[in-house]
Symmetry: C3
Subunit: 351 residues, 3 copies
Amino acid sequence: MKGFYNLGELATADVEKLVARALHLRAGAAPRRFEGKALGILFFNPSLRTQASFQRAAGKLGVDLVQLQAGGNGVWGIECEDGVTMDAGNAEHVREAAPVLGRFVDVLAIRAFAGIQSLDRDLRDALMNGFRKHAGIPVVNMESALWHPCQALADWTTMDLYEIPRRAKFVLTWAWHPKPLPHAVPNSTVCMASQRGMDVVVLRPKGYDLHESILAEASALAKANGGTLTVTDDRESALKDASIVYAKSWASLGCWGNTEAETAQRAGLREWCVSPEWMKRTDRARFMHCLPVRRNVVVRDEVLDGPWSIVIDQAENRLHAQTALLESQFASLERKSQIRAKSPVPLELPQ
Amino acid sequence: MKGFYNLGELATADVEKLVARALHLRAGAAPRRFEGKALGILFFNPSLRTQASFQRAAGKLGVDLVQLQAGGNGVWGIECEDGVTMDAGNAEHVREAAPVLGRFVDVLAIRAFAGIQSLDRDLRDALMNGFRKHAGIPVVNMESALWHPCQALADWTTMDLYEIPRRAKFVLTWAWHPKPLPHAVPNSTVCMASQRGMDVVVLRPKGYDLHESILAEASALAKANGGTLTVTDDRESALKDASIVYAKSWASLGCWGNTEAETAQRAGLREWCVSPEWMKRTDRARFMHCLPVRRNVVVRDEVLDGPWSIVIDQAENRLHAQTALLESQFASLERKSQIRAKSPVPLELPQ
Amino acid sequence: MKGFYNLGELATADVEKLVARALHLRAGAAPRRFEGKALGILFFNPSLRTQASFQRAAGKLGVDLVQLQAGGNGVWGIECEDGVTMDAGNAEHVREAAPVLGRFVDVLAIRAFAGIQSLDRDLRDALMNGFRKHAGIPVVNMESALWHPCQALADWTTMDLYEIPRRAKFVLTWAWHPKPLPHAVPNSTVCMASQRGMDVVVLRPKGYDLHESILAEASALAKANGGTLTVTDDRESALKDASIVYAKSWASLGCWGNTEAETAQRAGLREWCVSPEWMKRTDRARFMHCLPVRRNVVVRDEVLDGPWSIVIDQAENRLHAQTALLESQFASLERKSQIRAKSPVPLELPQ
């Protein structure tokens, strides 16, 4: 396996193997050790679970850890557009930052959220793809503009832990939030549940569709894996018979980069907050959320503190899923001959 | 031992054991190793000694380290009040943050200073107690709104190192400072010296009493351990026969959250700065301070650079005291059966 | 070896040994392990390569790592001037910060850039020298106001890797940049190349001389090691026969602390940007830069992405050179008896 950008890039059987390994690790199996190898983790955005679980996974795997953060006295601002005259804020280009880190560590994990300013740039997943293109080593996505595959892997693990049937009904619901948020989690969630072969419903108010390319990918995954995909704003039909209610807020593609328009559009939508009444319309569904979650904004206290919530197990599974993933990445490096250049490149001048 | 919130929660004999172990470690004893265990350290406020010594202690004990900081691209802002509608700044609630970290590590250390805005909130020690209540694992206090017990443990260790008699006279003196500072250090200092059975004097100008609940706890500790507690603004009598002069600035409870009132109240108090003249009135006293200390504001250069100061040994003892403390915490985990849930919780719906 | 402040403080034969060791490490030699020892790294300024390579080197050497950063919820602001009344921004003095860290770790590495406000202060290298004077342990310079010796060591290693002859022509060229930058890299570069016995040319526009004390040190090193030193603004003669073009921007000593004057002075100098035309005037020269580098500002994309550039190997060699250096530092600690005080200092009062 060469890096990890998006869960859907893996064959379903390979996802199943990682999930099974994650559950073994959770049950107490010892991870393999890769002494002398190194993992780099670089954060361009805040994190609690991801930072903590990647640090801990490095310890469990016995690898050296290089931990970096953008901002303050951390790493320099990184430019990722090609051909730019860099006389503005960014001091370094990903064309240097990525291969340099690729010389210092063996696997590089990156968090780089959508900026929600330029839709084009976010759809290109520019910073993450810059690192993937130039690092020269496997790059693991710790949440990019488009995908959060480690979350998706942990979520699948959590549903297996709770013995949620493969064909059960999975509802991803939009929720109100004071800020427009990126699409990485809902994108990865809808594709993950589709790849798991579930009956997936995206419940959202008008104006909050996910990008058509994501819905197309989810549909294809559903079809290939025996599931279905539906998009609706009818809460009652969506919740009926649901086994999972997965809440998340996300920005409107139609208002991308326009906070005032976004605020106006969602002004009447504050009742999109998951309450016990929602849960009671389901078939004994469990409540999931990637965290962090704003209480009494996205979901009521009564749900998070009630019997439905499995968010803490879901978060714990980040550790086990990522340990399984990194174990697989480092093991795959061992099977290859080392190809990194050890000798200088001869000078061949242009004619 | 289940976590470490306040030195006074330990029996005096248990404090003595930790101090003795700290002195053994200082003298070169090898700490026990706890490979496969993990320590998390999370800072909501700046730190030099605490960060450095906890990191080093983790290395000495052989445990995996998870290090987190609030702000910038670190962890999300954490809400700790129950029942809040979280539509303002904080993105995550301690009811999620704490148990999630409790799944990733075995012992969690937290620094969360008083905000000095709401006295009620600071007296409740709201953020620290949120972590203690919800983490599900032992929580170590790296300085909260109310207490700095690791400092107190190091201070006791330092007095034993310098063979300061148990019944010697210990003077905690207020000092001028440009900003109103939290009470955690003076609270812990006065209680620690009282528990050590010393003749404790709190020397402060009018308006700078510690909270009555703290003075009551210190009095009770003094009584139980054979010491005395006095509060005065008479510098001459306070310093006479003193063996320790411990300086610290703190905010006025009467001006809590009102910086202008505080500034006005302390306007005439700049001469509350420990000078050689102060030290010469003592009985060959040593000078202590928790650091960082503002030179020529809280204490004169001549004292810090003179024969009285033991602040560097005092700071070094943070490492040894905390290594002893963490060794005890991890050892106590080993003696218990692992009780963390490994299997999902069955769904029991409300009637 | 006691710390590492400036490459020129080492005998040339000692530099050669470190470079040879760095190349062995690059080729796969195993570094020595120093379990139970500890390295502290403290950053007052941003960093990518330095942070990552020092963290990784600590892993390779098996030492405990203590990593600290100024700002945010990192370490307190550090004062380094003696005798100051500390009632302004800085909460801690280097007279405490340095010896305290010296009790927690065995080798301490510091990054403290020039502030480019006071030339006197920058020429004294005040913060770095404060740590060196007060830490009580070896201090490694990770870039100070005056020197970046780890970069210089990596650069020498890189030229040996590329088999650049000792007497080859080395051109350090100034480049335009939107901001006035410190002199540490050009200072270390010109002295390193001079100590390597090269024919060194500093190519810069009028107004951009390095400090006379640096040029004097470089001249002396050139003379002692069989090389030459020239300063010119004639690009054509400078580039002719060059084997290395090393680009770097730096501030004008005449405008130090005056950003408007600096901006005005360099207004017409934007064409000081290394292009393929520059490289074609050389004798098949390689292009070097310490990174981060602003593309199409300091150097054109065509050079960085073309056959001339060896900047990624140069950056990789930071890791190997610093691992060799730290290995030497820790090994030298082992040969000494431990002299750190384990017992309290007796109180000797002034008469």
